[in-house]
Homo-oligomer: 361 residues x 2
């Protein structure tokens, strides 16, 4: 397996990081398999607070953050389901089809790579980018959205409370609040986690065999770490120092065309750097059962197909039906507990329309 | 359309009904002002059960009930806000603008008239109608949606549990479950309700003066009953025996054109009967502060404008600014407590796409 890492580390950095991890945190260690930690690393520049989380939740569900009030974040990242939209490629503003599939938001705080190509270094910067994307929220001018939000007294108040004494752009507060909310989206206690914590009754024989195959057939080479997506943010890997892999690692199979694996070149689309061709984030596998279809373009309709294609594209390996089945059974054990979330109450202006017609066109 | 008159009752019916009401139920009596009852009348043909309510809630939030998976019921009836969409006229399937404004769903169980023109006799029949409407959920063939739903094992199970031993079309179960959920959407304990229950400190002097004006200036003539929309379903009024009023009662004002009050003729659009021209349901006023803009076509941008237009259109009366202000202040006291609702978990098929591509086009 060719590991083509985007941001390689110096040996001494890796050694120190590895040692600290071994000593301080079993949860973050590069064990084969790791339990979902209680919380992701929270950036010192944006500590969590209930005020930010609540505001972030309101904004997440508020369609007023899209240009024409038609969609909210939950439209493509459905927290009533897999944290995605279940579509091959997402349909955002004006029902425009995005180039890629919406990734899940569950456990997003453990991701080091955001977007399929890592083009945002952290959640705080991803959010304004999402707002402005013509195929996502379609916002033409962030200043308009800022006006819309601050025209609602309860939002003005909530921003003040979440960021007391801070002078910053409304978009900055919005982004920090939403990033805070996103970092709370955790799905603990999958059967896999319970198994790793010691309750061996949680996994059947076939699931355990699938777990072994997952490791021995090479899936684990890239899908390791707490989120099965490479290292989580921590001492060894900060956000933005993304972990990428080649996909397909071995072009030339029938799947290049059947699954359209070569038209979108991943990180290269952003960097223009030849070395980045076919470089992609490693998608997390927790709750993978909830987010079919698969791949950046949604071209694999179900898990069996995804496993089959991956084995060929990455290892030139044709897995047997029984191996695929067992790996699939293992992957199904990665579904965690979806937390209870109450519907937020979206504030308005009593007796007045909640938007200005001027900002709607 | 069978209801051509405002008040389609015989005198003796009204007398008996009135007497029973006085004797049996203060909550349903035609008092000037009434507290929101604990629950609406539940039809004997569809008693409430937790299983139906839970299933109904899931379906309410499930986009798979729209033809192209783009919208759920909450899209136009936002339970995170006023139970409507805050738009002048709603945008449903494929972003098509509906002819009319989406009414609130809060306290919908107290309505006798559904749709602005009463064209559905009850919630159970309204739902398939909503699904099929090309400007609402856009479903071409209910059988396709039934297949989509029953393809999801957890929905199959939930339907069986909610309707044990019953043989009926899936759409019928879906409609009964959703109607059950809708009947639980209550907003009790508005300041108005607390005032009526005896806590006179809840309303300011100006709000109480507004309450008096609301009665003496004639608003109450139509906006009476627990939902300020005429009689609630009960002994005197069953669903389908709708309560309608003329609007504008006095055509000929400047508002006919400025607010486009004559192009849509209400009940007449459904019945084709001349006597039904300009006949409309009386919109409920609870939580009215949350659902600007106003009227069937959303042509009144805020409450002051709505009050002003209504006085002229119904009574040829020009209210003073101060009177309008006080009536508005009273109306703002009708905002109840929005209940806590947890996000439902929408079931899927583990590791498989949640829709069949065939049913998507």
């Amino acid at each position: 397996m060719k590991h083509k890492k985007h941001h390689p580390y110096k040996l001494w950095q890796l050694l120190i990081a590895g040692l600290s991890l071994l000593i301080y945190s079993n949860a973050f260690a590069f064990d084969y398999f790791q339990v979902l930690p209680k919380a992701p690393l929270i950036p010192a520049t944006n500590p969590l607070s209930p005020e930010k989380i609540n505001l972030g939740k309101q904004l997440f569900f508020d369609k007023r953050l899209s240009q024409d009030l038609s969609i909210n974040c939950n439209h493509c990242h459905n927290l009533m389901a897999g944290g995605d939209d279940g579509m091959p490629r997402s349909k955002g503003y004006k029902n425009q089809q995005s180039q890629r599939s919406a990734p899940t938001l569950w456990n997003i705080g453990f991701q080091t790579v955001l977007y399929w190509d890592g083009r945002a270094p952290n959640l705080e910067q991803l959010i304004p980018d999402h707002l402005r994307d013509p195929a996502i929220m379609g916002v033409r001018d962030l200043a308009e959205i800022e006006k819309r939000i601050t025209a609602i007294p309860a939002y003005g108040e909530a921003i003040k409370k979440a960021f007391p004494g801070t002078k910053q752009a409304v978009t900055q507060s919005v982004s920090m609040a939403m990033a805070s909310f996103l970092r709370t989206l955790l799905t603990p206690n999958s059967r896999f986690d319970q198994f790793i914590r010691g309750d061996k009754s949680q996994l059947t024989q076939a699931e355990q065999q699938g777990m072994d195959l997952f490791r021995t057939e090479g899936c684990l080479a890239c899908h390791f770490g707490v989120n099965f997506a490479g290292p989580a943010p921590g001492p060894a890997m900060t956000m933005g120092d993304g972990f990428y892999e080649l996909f397909p690692n071995h072009p030339g199979s029938q799947y290049d065309s059947s699954h359209d694996l070569l038209s979108d070149l991943g990180v290269f689309q952003v960097s223009g750097n030849k070395a980045d061709k076919r470089l992609w984030r490693v998608p997390p596998l927790r709750n993978i059962a909830l987010s079919a279809p698969y791949f950046h373009n949604g071209s694999a309709k179900d898990l069996d197909e995804a496993i089959q294609v991956m084995a060929v594209a990455q290892y030139r390996k044709k897995l047997e039906t029984e191996q695929i089945r067992k790996i699939r059974l293992f992957l199904l054990t990665l579904t965690g507990e979806i937390p209870k979330i109450t519907l937020p109450k979206l504030p308005g202006i009593a007796g007045k329309p909640f938007y200005s017609e001027k900002t709607m066109k």
